[in-house]
Amino acid sequence: MKSSRASATHSGAVLAWQIAVGALAIAAWQTLVTLGVLDAFFVSRPSDIARRLSTWVASGTLWGHLATTLEESLLGLTAGAALGISLGFGFARSPMVARVFDPYIKMLNAVPRVVLAPLFLLWFGLGIWSKVALAVTLVFFVMFFNTYQGVRDADKVLIDNVRMLGASERQLVRHVLIPSALTWIFSSLQTSLGFAMVGAVVGEYLGATRGLGYVIAQAEGTFDTTGVFAGMTVLGVVVVIVSAGVSKLEQWLLRWKA
C-alpha cells in the first residue's frame, strides 16, 4: 500500500515535470523567434503553429487526413500482425522450414523501406493500399520475430506438465504455446504500432492525396514551415495518445505478470 501511494505521488511529480519541460521549450522557442535570434521562416513559431492547428480543426480539414493515416496504420498493423504471427508460428513449429528460409527473411528485413515505397506506389496506386503495404513490411518482421521467439522460448517444464496433465498436441498449442507467444507479441505492440504509423506517413509523404504525410509534404513543397511543424505536432500528439492506450491494453492483457 505504502509503495503504491509513493508511486502515485511520484507519477504526479513526473507529470508536473513533463508539462514544465514542454512549456519551457515552447516558451524558449517563441522568445528566441520574437527576439530575432531564430528566423521564423526556417523554424516558424509556436503561436503561428497553434493558430494553424486551430484553423485546421475549425475548418475540419484535419480530421479527414488524420482518419486516413489512422486507417492505413490500423490496416497495416492488422495485416502485418496476421501474417507475422501465422508465419512465425509455422516456422517455430517446423525447424526445417525455418532453417531453409532464414537467410531470405534476413535479406528481406534488411531492405530499407523507403526504397520499397516507389515500388508499392507503382503496384498499388496512390490510394491507401500502397501505404498499408509499406506499414505491413515494417510490422510483419516485428511480429514474426517475436512470435517465433515466443513459441521457441515456451518453458519446457510448462510443456511437460501440461502434457502429463493430459494435453493433446492441439491443446498444448492452445494452452501453452499461443499464450507464451502472445506474451512476446503484446510486449511488442508499442513498437509495432509505431512502425505501422511510420509506414503510413512515409508512404503518404512520397505520394498520396490524403493523410498527414501528404499534408507535411505539401507544406514543405511551398516552404510553409508552419504547416510542416503543425503536421508534426498532430502526429506527435496522436502517437502519445495511442501509445498510452496501448500501454493500458498491454497492462490488461499481461495482468498475470507480477
Binding site: V157, D160, N161, V162, L165, G166, Q171, H175, W256, K257
Partner: protein, 270 residues
C-alpha cells in the same frame, strides 16, 4: 499388486561434445500399488531421469517399464508429475490452473470449476482462486500444484524434489499437507485406494520422514540401486516430532552410512 516396475532400465544421453553419458545402468525396481517410495541419491545421480522414464517423458535406452502390469509406451497416463520448478501456467489464475487437467479431459468448464473450488478449499486457498501464480508465495504455489495434480485422481504421483526450493519451515508444512492428502485417501468417504507415490529427493531426512521405503541410488554416471530399506514408522506421522524420535534417528544412521559413500564419490568426481 505392482504399480510401477522397471526392469534392467538403462539410459544414455549424447553429450554436447558428441560423447555419451550413461545416466542409469541396469536399474530394476518394483513399487507396490499404494506405497510411498522415496528415491535418494547424490546430485546428478540420475534420480530425475528415473522419474522421467516412469513418466514416459524420457524413453529408456534399454530395459522395460510396466505400469499396473502393462508395458509403458508414450506418456504415463496413469500418473501425474510434480516438478521441481514451478509448472503452473502463469497466464491462468489459480482456479483455472487447478481445473486444467479436467478441462483438458473435456469436462465442462462449470463442472471443472466446481471441482477446482472443492480442491482449493481442501488446500486452504479458496480466497486466492482468482489470483495469478505470480501473486502467490512459493508455498501457496506448491499447494496449487498439489491440487492440480490431485484433482485428476490418477493412481500414481511422481514427485521430483517438489519442495526443494522452499525454506525449511514452509517445506515441513508442505510435507505435512502432502501426507495428509495422501493418508486421507482411504479415510474419506470415497474409500479410494492410496496413490502410489514416487518421491525423488537428495534429502535423506525428507525421504525417511515421508516414505514407506527408501531406495538409495549410487553416484553417477551409471547409477544403480545400492540399497532399499523399509521405513517402519507408524502413520499418521507427526513430522514436527518425528525427526527427533529414536526410531527415526536409527534409520537415518543406517541409511546415511550407505548414502554417505555415494555423496563422497559424487563430490570427488565433481
Amino acid at each position: 499388486m505392482t504399480a510401477l516396475e522397471l526392469e534392467s532400465v538403462s539410459r544414455q544421453f549424447v553429450t554436447p561434445d558428441g560423447g555419451s553419458y550413461r545416466a542409469l545402468d541396469n536399474v530394476s525396481l518394483a513399487i507396490p500399488a499404494g506405497a510411498f517410495v522415496a528415491i535418494v541419491g547424490p546430485s546428478g545421480c540420475g534420480k530425475s531421469t528415473l522419474l522421467n522414464i516412469a513418466a514416459g517423458l524420457v524413453a529408456p535406452s534399454s530395459g522395460s517399464v510396466r505400469v499396473d502390469g502393462d508395458a509403458l509406451s508414450g506418456l504415463n497416463r496413469r500418473a501425474t508429475y510434480m516438478f521441481q520448478q514451478d509448472a503452473l501456467l502463469p497466464w491462468k489464475n489459480v482456479r483455472e490452473n487447478v481445473a486444467l487437467g479436467l478441462v483438458l479431459a473435456g469436462v465442462a468448464i462449470a463442472d471443472a470449476n466446481a471441482r477446482a473450488n472443492e480442491w482449493l478449499a481442501r488446500v486452504g486457498l479458496s480466497a486466492f482462486a482468482a489470483h495469478y501464480p505470480s501473486q502467490l508465495s512459493g508455498g501457496m504455489r506448491k499447494r496449487v500444484t498439489m491440487a492440480q495434480n490431485w484433482i485428476l485422481d490418477r493412481g500414481m504421483l511422481l514427485m521430483d524434489e517438489p519442495f526443494s526450493a522452499l525454506d525449511v519451515h514452509t517445506r515441513q508444512r508442505m510435507e505435512t499437507e502432502l501426507l495428509n492428502l495422501w493418508e486421507a485417501a482411504d479415510v474419506a468417504a470415497r474409500r479410494a485406494p492410496r496413490k502410489t507415490v514416487v518421491f525423488v529427493t537428495h534429502d535423506l531426512e525428507e525421504a525417511i520422514a515421508l516414505a514407506d521405503e527408501v531406495v538409495v541410488l549410487s553416484a553417477g554416471p551409471a547409477s544403480h540401486v545400492v540399497a532399499r530399506h523399509p521405513v517402519a514408522l507408524d502413520r499418521p506421522r507427526d513430522l514436527f516430532e518425528l525427526r527427533t524420535s529414536a526410531a527415526f534417528i536409527d534409520l537415518y544412521r543406517l541409511l546415511w552410512a550407505v548414502l554417505r559413500d555415494e555423496v563422497i564419490k559424487s563430490q570427488r568426481d565433481a
